[in-house]
Structures are given as structure tokens and as C-alpha cells.
């Protein structure tokens, strides 16, 4: 059977939606003034610390700004796309872009899969201690990446590390996780999944609980087994949630920085250097123009990938 044979009942409106009715006229005298008094503090801080830097960052990315221009950020030479060309033809930046792509392309689907599995297990599989498991699985999310990276560096040590010790119980000789070019990136991905799947799980749980029970019941009466019910009813209804979690996870992973900074410093042999980390390094060398061009490249990639995810996941099925 397919989902299209099921008549979807109209959503029950529990109460009239609390949307403010359009108030006639241009409001009370003094309303505009009061509104601006409320708006001014945020607006000033927002213009100074968000809008202005975003604009100046774009300007800088087309100039040869260096650290020595710190005091006079506008008396610099305009060099067109020079910084972008330099970034894109820099083999280390290319390596960083490839590493970031690896981290996102492998890390995001795995994180989503673990999050969805955990959510389904907690929603359908168990009835007791649900809150305890939910809390436990979510705990890594709230911790500082720097702190967990320090801890994981020990866990992943080749000889005295916890992971290889556990593997040795099963007769497996674990690799030198962070010291091996082949294993360094998978190690960071493993840690990222561990730290981040809790967020997706919570959101998937909320999405699963919004799937109407009557729909599941109707399908069960029609003879659909558990797997069919999940695949044809739950999964399509979960699509908006899936879109949301995949977009937010991908945006976060595209900027990964703390993990390589603390665990590998980008090594071995640049195998874990990320775009954000290399941008930070360029800033450290004083190449402000190049750093801002790189940051805009990251921004463009984030925007493009978000748009693609909307395309692929939104209007299907």
C-alpha cells in the first residue's frame, strides 16, 4: 500500500489561533516613539557588531588588507577578486575544502541516521525511563567542544586509550586514530556524531509525536507492517523535520573548527585542517583580506548547500 491511499484527516484546531488581529489606523499617538525607544539599544548594537562587520568583511575581501592596516582599514588597495583567486588556487585551502566536504558529506547523514534511530527507539521501542535516556543522549550537546575534544584525544590514544582497549577485548587491534592520515578524519566525525546527534534526536522526537496515531492505526488495520508504516506514513510526514535538522547540522559542520584545533591542529599532513581553521590561520598570519575572502567562500557554500537541501527535501513525495 502507499501513503496516497490514506485520507489525511484535517488537522484539529485546538483553539482559535492567537494571531493578532490587524489593528485599524496607524496606531496610537506615541506608539512609534515608544517602539523606537524599545528598538534603539538592540539596533545600535546590531548595526555596530553585525551589519557593519558583514559589510566591511565583504569590502576587505576585495582589498589587500593586512595586519599593519589595522588602524587605517580604508587606506588599502582594491585588488578585485585577487584574494578569491589566491584562496581557490591555494593547495592547502583546496585540501581544507576537501576535508570540510568529507566531514559534511559523511558526518551529516550519519548524525541524522543515529539521531533518527535514537528518536524512533525512544518513541516506539520503550515506554519506561524515556526521559532518562533522552536526557542522557542529549548531554554531550551542551558540553564545550574544546573540553570534549581534550577528553577524546585521550580516548583515541593508540595504546593507553579507552577505545582501543575496548576493541582489544574483541581481539581487534585499533589504529592510531588521530595520528594516521586514513583515520584522523573518521575519528573527528565519530566524535561529532557523539556530540551532536542529541539535538536531532530531540527534534525528531517532537516530529514523531506530531504524527497522528489514527493514521498509524488505519494503516495497521489495512495490514501494513511496522516497517511499511514507518516508511510510508511516518517518514513522509517527518520530511519537514528532516529538512530542518539536515540544514542546521550541515551549517554547523561546514564551520567545524574546535575539533581539529584541539585534537590534531589540522594534522597529520593537513588531513584534518578545515576551512574555518585555515581561515583562522590566515588571520593569524595577518592576511586579513585573504581571510575575509575565505570566510565569504564558506558563507557562499553554506547558502548554496542550504538551498540545495531545500530543493531536494521539500516538495518531494
Amino acid at each position: 500500500m502507499s501513503a496516497s491511499t490514506i485520507a489525511v484527516p484535517p488537522r484539529m484546531e485546538a483553539a482559535p489561533s492567537p494571531v493578532a488581529p490587524a489593528r485599524p489606523g496607524r496606531g496610537r499617538p506615541g506608539e512609534g516613539r515608544a517602539a523606537w525607544i524599545l528598538a534603539i539599544p538592540f539596533t545600535l548594537l546590531f548595526l555596530a557588531f553585525t551589519v557593519w562587520p558583514v559589510a566591511q568583511s565583504l569590502f576587505m575581501s576585495f582589498t589587500d588588507t593586512k595586519q599593519k592596516d589595522l588602524r587605517t582599514p580604508f587606506s588599502v588597495n582594491f585588488i578585485g577578486l585577487g584574494n578569491y583567486v589566491r584562496a581557490l588556487s591555494d593547495p592547502v585551502f583546496q585540501r581544507a575544502a576537501a576535508n570540510t566536504a568529507y566531514f559534511v558529506v559523511v558526518g551529516v547523514p550519519l548524525t541524522l541516521a543515529v539521531a533518527l534511530l535514537a528518536a524512533v527507539a525512544l518513541d516506539k521501542g520503550i515506554t519506561r525511563f524515556r526521559a532518562v535516556f533522552r536526557l542522557g543522549f542529549y548531554t554531550p550537546v551542551i558540553t564545550s567542544i574544546v573540553a570534549v575534544a581534550v577528553v577524546w584525544r585521550f580516548i583515541l590514544q593508540p595504546d593507553a586509550g579507552l577505545l582501543n582497549t575496548v576493541l582489544s577485548w574483541f581481539g581487534i587491534q585499533g589504529p592510531n586514530w588521530l595520528g594516521d592520515v586514513q583515520w584522523s578524519m573518521p575519528s573527528l566525525i565519530l566524535m561529532a556524531i557523539w556530540r551532536n546527534f542529541g539535538t536531532g534526536m530531540i527534534i525528531f522526537l517532537a516530529g514523531l509525536q506530531a504524527v497522528p496515531y489514527s493514521l498509524q492505526e488505519a494503516a495497521a488495520i489495512d495490514g501494513a507492517n511496522t516497517w511499511q508504516r514507518f516508511w510510508h506514513i511516518t517518514f513522509p510526514l517527518l520530511r519537514p523535520t528532516l529538512l530542518f535538522v539536515s540544514v542546521t547540522t550541515a551549517i554547523g559542520y561546514l564551520q567545524f573548527f574546535e575539533e581539529p584545533f584541539v585534537m590534531t591542529q589540522g594534522g597529520p599532513l593537513n588531513s584534518t585542517i578545515s576551512m574555518s581553521m585555515y581561515t583562522y590561520n590566515q588571520f593569524g598570519y595577518g592576511n586579513y583580506g585573504v581571510a575575509t575572502a575565505m570566510s565569504y567562500l564558506i558563507f557562499v557554500v553554506i547558502a548554496v548547500i542550504t538551498a540545495i537541501q531545500f530543493r531536494v527535501l521539500r516538495e518531494k513525495a
Partner: protein, 276 residues
Amino acid sequence: MLGSKSRFGKWWVYLVVTVALVMVIAPFAWMVLGSFKGEGELRRVPPTWLPESASLDNYTQLFAQLDFGTYFVNSAIVAVVVTAGNLLFCSMLGYALAMLNFPGKRVLLLLVLATLMIPGVVTFVPLFVLVANAGLIDSLPGLFLPFLATPFGVFLMRQFISGLPADLLDAGRVDGASELGIFARIILPLCGPALATLGILTFLGSWNNFLWPLVVAQTEKTYTLPVALALYSTGQNNTQYGLLLAGACVVVLPLLVVFLVFQRHFIEGIATTGIK
């Protein structure tokens, strides 16, 4: 008929989620237990779980020789100021955008929404130039000023206040309350859940923030905990494992306590906003 799963099926799921929970929690347990161990025990192969002779040496060294007390206070000041600023400024603008008419409203709202997704890596270089020219590098104001007013907070507060009945305004006006009085005495007291969510998420984000304090805090007097821990753990001469694990505990455990106390608001906030 949906609930008629066999006892065995459920038992099997419990086993799997319990094993998963042990795997998720194990790094924390190992971190806490390891912070009480001596250097020799931490380097032993195979590693031990329970400390053979538990001691607080790592912690005393952390606070007596390494000034983690200062870093802790810095982290706390920055997080409290950033949280207070966001609660105040974002609820003020969120209310104006949700309930009031004023010239420039549409432009402001569009600007806030447009910057909602811009990553921090885009702004940190010009922000550094700005803060440096203001003479605020290596100062606590340099650490918290750029984060006092964030678009996400406005978005969250506006969404929540839009859901409150607009009749409240008219009732307040009939009773003679001033426009600002309506906000302070009628709207704000109703914003508890949204303020709790925003407050917790902001505090968490500030406590764990790394890139900006790494750039701005240049001497030990302004280090925050994550910066101190990261620089100490990547430093050339520092390979004292016990100290690093104790340092990680000092970064993680206070937040863990906050989280456990407020976890209901936390998890509801995540489910509704999706932002960690």
C-alpha cells in the same frame, strides 16, 4: 493492536538503548574519574577505570598554580552579561516588532532575518579591527560587547510575543498604562517560557564560545575557560594529562549542573527552536 509488541521485542530495544547510553556517557565518566588520578596511572596500559588513589592534586594545581579561578570568573562574567543583554534587548525589540507599528519596522525585521544565518567566521576579522580600534582587545568588554544583541534572540522573542493576544495592549491602554509600561508590566511577565529558553541557550553558547575569545583574549588575565584549556592542551611543554582532564571537568561540570536543573526548559526550547 499497535501496542501489542512481544515482551522480547521491548527487552531487546532496552538493551540496545542502554548500551548506547553507556557509550554516550562513558567519556564523561572517564573524564571525571581521570581527573582524580595521578600522572603515572593515567599513562598506564591498559587504562584503569577507578582511580587507585584518588586525590584532588590536579584541581589544587589548576587553581593554585594555573589561575583557572580567574578564567572561571571571566567565563562567568561574560556569560552573565551576554545573557542579560540578550534577554533585555531582544525582548524589547521583539515586542516592538510583534505588536507595535513604527516607521522602519519592515526594514529592521528584514535586516534581522537576513543576518540570522550568517556564520561567525564571516564577521570575526572586521569585528577584530573594530574592537582593536576601540582599544578593547584583551578586555572583558571586548569579549561580551559583540554578543549583547543577537538576531536569533529577536527572532525567538518576536515569534513568542506574536502568539500573545493583542487585546492585552488595548486593555493596558484603557487602564491608562504608558506604552513602555505595557511592555514592562503586562507583556514581559508573560514571556517567562521564551525568556527561559533564550536565557539558557545564550548562556550555553557564551560559556562554550571559542573562536572570538581565542582572538580577543591575548593574555591570561582575560582568558575564558575554553581558551585556557585549548591553549594549555596544545601548548608545547604541557602534557600533564591529569591537569587537562581536571580542566575539562571545570569547563563541563558547571554547565552540566545548570542543564540538569533546567533540563525541561532546555529540551522544550530545542524542540521548538531547533537551535542548540
